[in-house]
């Protein structure tokens, strides 16, 4: 037909220049607003100032005051000796410090973030969580030389157990509420 033939023969190219103009303006704008790293926050509070809230009577179990002492030798788990050492803590040799619960991978001093044994710390905390399923608080007591990234990493290690996921794929929550204590001020 005549119309059809005209459509094929006289096919003009679509004028894309106005769209190009629009897109060229949109791209710088979106580039500025684009977010390539996602930010998140970790909540923490100061240790409560003032009288502690009345403790509910729990005759079966003493309250768990789980604390993590973070030093350059590793992480020491405090307040859970009943779980970690059911037969009583190993005797400490006179004049020597008690070794950290989770020592550095290389032994001795931890040189970097990955030198700390975070998997082992999470495993230890999961054991404690088994005994105290209702407890959600952990107190961090870092040494004043410990780097900030190590503190953040220890919060991660104590928040959830990534190796233990439920049927819905959600990691098991351990101790999500973190309080940073001032540590021993020296």
């Amino acid at each position: 037909m005549a119309v059809k033939r005209k459509g094929i023969e006289g096919a003009e190219e679509l004028n894309l220049v106005p769209i190009m103009n629009l897109v060229t303006i949109l791209i710088p704008f979106l580039l500025m607003a684009a977010e390539f790293v996602t930010l998140a926050v970790i909540d923490s509070t100061l240790p409560a100032i003032g009288p502690p809230p009345p403790v509910e009577e729990q005759p079966d179990k003493p309250p768990l005051n789980l604390s993590l002492a973070i030093t350059n030798k590793g992480v020491t788990v405090l307040g859970a000796d009943a779980v970690l050492h059911p037969e009583g803590a190993a005797p400490v040799v006179e004049g020597e410090e008690r070794p950290p619960t989770v020592p550095c991978k290389s032994g001795g001093y931890c040189m970097s973030l990955d030198d700390y044994n975070w998997e082992e710390l999470t495993r230890t905390l999961a054991l404690i969580k088994d005994e105290y399923p209702d407890d959600e608080n952990v107190i961090l007591v870092p040494d004043s030389r410990v780097k900030y990234e190590i503190i953040v990493k220890s919060m991660d290690a104590s928040r959830e157990d990534k190796s233990n996921r439920g049927p819905d794929g959600v990691a098991r929550t351990l101790f999500p509420f973190v309080v940073i204590a001032g540590g021993a001020i020296n």
Binding site: M20, V41, D43, S44, L46, K147, Y148, K153
Partner: protein
């Protein structure tokens, strides 16, 4: 010559921009996906590198306290300079500290004054608005460089606590 010949055959050669349009469309879609209107912004530099974490809480608006390697900044205004001193326990290495003359006990005086101003301003605002949503809760966003020793952070946190900011939100990069 070949060039001359080609020009002669098509004197009004138009630039084909269709393929460029294809590319632009893909870039546009990609950028739209990455679009975000976040309350909190970070200006990363050599002096401020945030740590990474697996937390999934979204940041919210609060007083913004930045502790970089060289200075402490509150809501975009530099408050205090940090100094490097030789580390006594590790000879040859240096350590970042808050200068002694800026401190009164454990409190960093300049920072305390500045944060107290912020707290008072937020309280006045909360009173005027009268709504529960704007009540002063003592929230503070802390962006801290990942290399900083806990000693500096502890003094800053203690000072913030004295200035009625007790709910800390540590800003981190999210990793999956």
């Amino acid at each position: 010559m070949a060039l001359k010949k080609a020009r002669r055959t098509s004197p009004n050669a138009e630039l084909s921009i269709t393929s460029m349009m294809d590319m632009m469309t893909i870039i546009l879609v990609f950028l739209l996906k990455n679009f975000s209107a976040n309350d909190v912004s970070v200006a990363p530099s050599d002096m401020l590198q945030l740590p990474s974490s697996t937390t999934s809480k979204a940041p919210e608006l609060a007083v913004n306290l930045v502790i970089a390697k060289n200075q402490v900044v509150v809501d975009g205004v530099a408050v205090l300079d940090l100094t490097q001193v030789p580390d006594e326990d590790n000879p040859g290495q240096s350590m970042i500290v808050v200068p002694e003359d800026e401190k009164r006990g454990q409190v960093i005086t300049k920072l305390y004054d500045r944060l107290l101003e912020k707290a008072e301003a937020a309280k006045t605002l909360a009173e005027q608005s009268g709504s529960e949503d704007h009540a002063f809760k003592g929230r503070i966003l802390i962006q801290c460089d990942k290399e900083l020793p806990f000693g500096v952070l502890r003094e800053v946190m203690y000072t913030a606590g004295q200035a009625q900011f007790g709910e800390f939100k540590f800003v981190v990069y999210k990793v999956e």
